[in-house]
Symmetry: C2
Subunit: 246 residues, 2 copies
């Protein structure tokens, strides 16, 4: 039954017209199904209804397709983090945690992108555009950390924002990689990955001396009035950041 290919071609003519995009979409689907390792250039071509050689008109090789996807992934990632951060509204801590949740949500909702970005084993510094995209995404976390660091309670040494950003990133990435994806999520947890990360971040922030019982701060002037309980020990949410056993 090789009339299928003829059929396809009859429908769309000799030239595909939008092969590059079609290949990206096909690859995305395949990676979601079988992982970046299992994804095959030939399969993507087949799925787009073209010969195995056609993709080479649009990508130097399989790796370039993969890294294109990773790049696109970082762009969407950045967009989602940006939107989650929402410039620190309604208050910095709340927004900060929303960023953490967005990280997990992305890993969950876009397994193909996440896979290509973090688990495909392709060298980040191979493609400068890829590296730049990754950099921009991280800068969201960094900017958020910067704002948070500026809020550090007086009396304690101010934590380096870069360090905070790296810490938060590692937490989110660790939770996402270990517990929030595919089969690794099979490990039975006492709480959801989201809750796990939220508690982790809250405890961490408390360790830095931040008040972690979130209450809407005045959105007009954020830095100025640091709540009085900032440097005291009373900022503990009832029941601790891990909440009550439900």
């Amino acid at each position: 039954m090789s009339w299928r290919k003829e059929q396809r071609r009859a429908e769309r003519g000799y030239h595909h017209g939008n092969l590059k995009e079609a290949l990206l979409q096909a690859a995305l689907g395949l990676i979601a199904e079988k992982g970046a390792a299992g994804f095959t250039f030939a399969d993507a071509a087949r799925m787009a209804g073209v010969s195995a050689a056609a993709p080479y008109r649009h990508f130097r090789d399989r790796d370039e397709l993969l890294s294109s996807i990773a790049q696109r992934g970082f762009e969407q990632f950045e967009a989602r983090l940006t939107s989650a951060w929402d410039d620190g509204r309604p208050d910095t801590v709340t927004a900060f945690e929303r960023v953490g949740k967005a990280y997990l949500a992305f890993a969950r909702d876009e397994p193909a992108f996440y896979n290509a970005m973090f688990e495909s084993g392709l060298p980040v510094d191979a493609n400068p555009a890829l590296q730049a995209a990754s950099e921009r995404a991280f800068n969201i976390i960094r900017a958020a950390a910067e704002r948070l660091a500026a809020l550090a309670p007086p009396g304690t040494p101010r934590p380096p924002a870069m360090m905070m950003a790296l810490h938060i990133w590692s937490m989110a990435h660790g939770v996402a990689s270990l517990f929030s994806r595919g089969d690794a999520a099979r490990r039975k947890l006492p709480m959801s990955p989201d809750e796990l990360l939220e508690a982790e971040v809250l405890i961490y922030l408390r360790g830095l001396g931040f008040p972690t019982d979130r209450r809407p701060q005045k959105k007009s002037a954020e830095p100025p009035p640091v709540p009085p309980e900032a440097s005291s020990g009373s900022g503990v949410p009832p029941g601790g950041p891990w909440g009550k056993p439900k």
Copy 2:
């Protein structure tokens, strides 16, 4: 020049004698070089001086070889964590951090194992033995967290040990994955991965109310004498957990 194979065979006879082990070693080397994705069954066979079909006498397929390596990796991992934990000597917090360092050290010293264990994309629950080995390794962290939780300062709600273990694991894994390996380590950091993780854990523990200025505790009876500054805010090490900018 195909006399090489004949040569090899002349040296060792028709039967290899220890092929399984030789294949595991060869694979380990190849994975270290080119990653689990780039590693090839045929290459391992070649390296062991046997035909491409020979490995199938010892492993059902490529994946089984990979998962054997992962399993062996988890065993060594467990051994190193156990030794680092050293049953909580000289004091729980110190030992706990040593475990974190051991995690990073393993990722650094045994990239092939680490790769097979965490980055090869093979389903953890495929092989029950693999799953068990992974479980045992995690249990070290869990046991350590248990001991640490028991030390929680009075007056604050006691954190669930399981949660702590998962948090620590995710931190260590996040730092290792993002910053402590191969090319991803290319990202220029303000501090070493070890320091990064140490600071992260210290801040986290402080967030839980633990005293984090380590001083040798009496090794005889550990739980009893919680230092007085446990629940106050004065447990901040000079300069904070991130130390002084050197």
